[in-house]
Point group: C2
Chain length 110, copies 2
DNA sequence: TTTATTCATTGCAATATTGCGATAAATGTG
DNA sequence: CACATTTATCGCAATATTGCAATGAATAAA
C-alpha cells in the first residue's frame, strides 16, 4: 500500500528507522558532510556544492530540520545552517546502540 | 522525479545512504533485532513475530539479502535466515565512520 | 520605493516503496 | 504419486519520495 504500518512496531524500532531513513539519501549525507566540514554554511553554498536545484536542497534541509539534526538562522538575506550538535550526539547514540548488537553464538547460525 | 541522482554524489555518499536506507524501515529493524536475538531463525517465525504478511516479510528479507546483511540457507522445507556477521561488521564500520564526525569550531555556528 | 538576492513553499510529473492476495516452486510426508 | 508446508515471486493498489519550475516572502541595496 505504500504505507508503513508503524503501529505494529515498537517505539524504538520506529525511532531507529526514522533516523536511518533521513540519512538514507545521498543528498542528505552530502549536506551533513558539508556542514561538518564547514562548521556552518549558507543554503546557496549547498546548492552550488551539491548540484541539485535550490528547491530540492531546501526540501532535504527541511527533512533534516524536522529530525532536529540541522538548524537554520536567518542572516540578512541568506540563511545560515549548521548541525544541531546535541541532536547529532543523541541520534549517534541510538544508532550505535543498534549497531552494537552481536551474533553471540555463531554455531547456531546456518 | 522520484529518481535519486546517484551519479552526482561520491561513491561513499551513495554507500552510506544505501546502507541507511535499508535500515530505514521498522520492519527491517525488527527483522535484524529478531535475528540477533535468536542467532538464527526461520522465515515463518518472523511472519508470526512481526505481524506482516508472509509476502511482505519475504520482500524485506530480499532487501536485506541484497545488501548482504542476511543470508538464508534452505533447511528442508523451510529457510533458515541469519545475520552475515562479516557484512554487519563492515556496514557498522561505514556508519560509525560517518557518525563520528564532529563539529569542531562551534563559534562559527549560528 | 523599486529592484535584486536568497530561501521557502506550492504544484506537478516521474519513480520508488510498501503491503498483500494469488500463485509458483521446492521440499517433505503419506 | 498426491498432498501439505514453506518461501519466493508476480501483479496490483495505495502511498511516499525525489526533483524541479514557478512563485511567494523576506531582507538588502540602490
Amino acid at each position: 500500500m505504500g504505507l508503513s504500518k508503524t503501529e505494529i512496531f515498537t517505539k524504538e524500532q520506529n525511532h531507529i528507522a526514522s533516523i536511518a531513513k533521513v540519512i538514507g539519501h545521498p543528498a542528505r549525507v552530502a549536506i551533513l558532510q558539508h556542514l561538518f566540514k564547514m562548521d556552518s554554511c549558507i543554503c546557496g553554498d549547498l546548492v552550488e556544492e551539491i548540484g541539485l536545484a535550490q528547491a530540492t536542497i531546501s526540501q532535504h534541509l527541511k527533512e533534516l530540520k524536522a529530525l532536529g539534526l540541522v538548524k537554520g538562522n536567518v542572516e540578512g538575506q541568506s540563511v545560515c545552517y549548521c548541525i544541531e550538535k546535541s541532536k547529532w550526539v543523541e541520534i549517534k547514540k541510538v544508532l550505535l546502540n543498534f549497531l552494537d548488537q552481536d551474533v553471540t553464538d555463531i554455531t547456531k547460525c546456518c
